[in-house]
């Protein structure tokens, strides 16, 4: 048993060929998940009990079950029904990529909506009172006061969730998708060299995570450019 550096040099380009799919999964489900999260957030703060309750149950279910189980239910489970196989969604649900994006979107939406809600709830009440005093309507207050402040307040927690989403994209390899992890698993099955392949792939993910953290740091500093520095 020895650490084979040549194997790393050979396998790294192969694994990086899957970077596109990993990125696609991250960006598409990250974007759609954010839209879903905003919808769930609006349902939760709408003040209508039935909307609030539906959103709460949704969040409870998707945060309480493993993402792998959600992926399997969507990819292997849904085709059990004739109605799904004949519906217009079938061309998405037939493809593993479509299923992975759907599962990741539904999952991350539940987590992100709670993060956004935390941001909305921590907006200073005094500012909203000031808005009312200026004669702003509830909608105006939400758009001009709550939204910009809540965005900044929820950004640190949101960046953590994007990183978890990146890590969750690796689970797409369990439903035959050839993302970076999927390719790595194929190489290991051929060469039986888990250390070389998995450790070098882990490095790729760590660099990726690090880059995302830096990116969010920049955005956070940009959004806080008007605020007074504490300390």
């Amino acid at each position: 048993m020895s650490f084979d550096f040549n194997l790393i040099l050979q396998s790294l380009p192969q694994m990086l060929a899957g970077l596109g799919i990993t990125l696609q999964l991250l960006l598409v489900s990250g974007f759609l998940g954010l839209l879903l999260a905003i919808l769930l957030l609006l349902m939760r703060i709408s003040g209508k009990l039935y909307l609030d309750l539906i959103a709460q149950i949704y969040i409870y279910i998707f945060r309480g079950t493993p993402i792998l189980v959600q992926i399997f239910i969507i990819y292997y489970g849904l085709p059990q029904f004739e109605a799904i196989r004949e519906s217009m969604f079938w061309h998405i649900l037939r493809e593993p990529t479509g299923c992975a994006i759907l599962a990741l979107t539904l999952n991350t939406g539940a987590y992100v909506s709670e993060i956004l809600r935390g941001g909305v709830l921590s907006v200073d009440k005094g500012l909203l009172e000031a808005g009312s005093a200026l004669g702003m309507s509830a909608r105006q207050k939400f758009i001009y006061i709550t939204t910009p402040l809540a965005t900044r307040l929820s950004l640190p927690a949101y960046s953590n969730d994007v990183i978890s989403l990146l890590k969750s994209t690796a689970l797409a390899s369990t439903i035959t998708i050839t993302d970076m992890t999927g390719i790595a698993r194929t190489i290991v099955a051929d060469t039986y060299a888990p250390y070389e392949v998995f450790i070098s792939l882990a490095m790729v993910y760590i660099i990726f995570t690090f880059g995302l953290q830096k990116l969010f740091g920049v955005i956070e500093r940009y959004l806080s450019r008007h605020t007074v520095r504490e300390e």
């Binding site: 493993p66 239910i73 292997y76 489970g77 059990q80 690796a170 369990t174 790595a184 698993r185 690090f210």
Partner: protein, 231 residues
């Protein structure tokens, strides 16, 4: 529902395995978290650097990669070691239970490191000074002042870490642990009802999540019974 007849006991034993993984990984996660937090708070530069590397690596790598690396990697290493003593041996592996449990404890332990570190730093310095003034030793201060104050701070994020451990257990089915998701796969090959079988898995995990969430809420109430509300 009749399709589930005959599988209930398999699911039950699968659920018992989920509970076993949870208990074992909970202890290991606390251990790794405390060691990590201790190293980060110690004055030793080498210990600090090692702990930082630990958190960066395990928070940046997908869970599935850590599990696969630990399982296949340990198998290769152990086989190589065993062959030194007895060349007849073809293959030795760590049971998936322990490879998986150690993997998820290492991952969640890296998050717990930050939680414990923050909680120890959150202990009121006034309380520690008061303990000194009363003539308590460092050990006494640690046991009677630091620990009771820090665990109240650490509890809410710690509850989330316990939920992560439970949900990550599903990933261990990938290396062959016969927990509920693994049971479902076997049931599907016989019955051909993937949706039904995976939904049962989802419900079992949701049950575990609910029990943990409710327990954490109860413990939080108990922990704060003597503190005055701050808001």
């Amino acid at each position: 529902m009749e399709v589930l007849n005959g599988w209930w006991d398999d699911y039950f034993w699968g659920a018992i395995i989920v509970a076993e993984v949870f208990i074992a990984s909970l202890f290991l996660m606390i251990l790794f978290g405390l060691i990590g937090a201790g190293a980060k708070l110690s004055g030793n530069r080498l210990a600090q650097k090692t702990a930082s590397a630990y958190t960066v690596i395990f928070r940046g790598t997908p869970e599935i990669l850590v599990i696969l690396l630990l399982y296949y990697g340990s198998a290769i290493t152990l086989t190589a070691i065993a062959q030194i003593f007895n060349p007849e041996i073809r293959f030795v592996d760590v049971p998936p239970f322990w490879a998986g449990t150690i993997a998820i404890s290492l991952i969640v332990g890296s998050y717990a490191t930050e939680t414990f570190r923050g909680a120890f730093l959150g202990v009121n310095p006034g309380s520690i000074e008061a303990a000194r003034a009363l003539g308590m030793s460092t050990l006494q201060t640690f046991i009677y002042i630091r620990i009771p104050e820090m665990w109240r701070i650490a509890l809410p994020p710690f509850g989330n870490h316990m939920l992560s451990l439970t949900k990550d257990t599903a990933l261990i089915s990938i290396i062959g642990l016969n927990e509920t998701l693994f049971v479902a796969k076997q049931a599907i090959t016989v019955t051909g009802k993937p949706f039904t079988m995976y939904i049962v898995v989802g419900v079992i995990y949701l049950g575990f999540s609910t029990i943990i969430t409710l327990s954490v809420m109860g413990i939080e109430k108990f922990g704060n019974r003597t503190t005055v509300g701050t808001r």
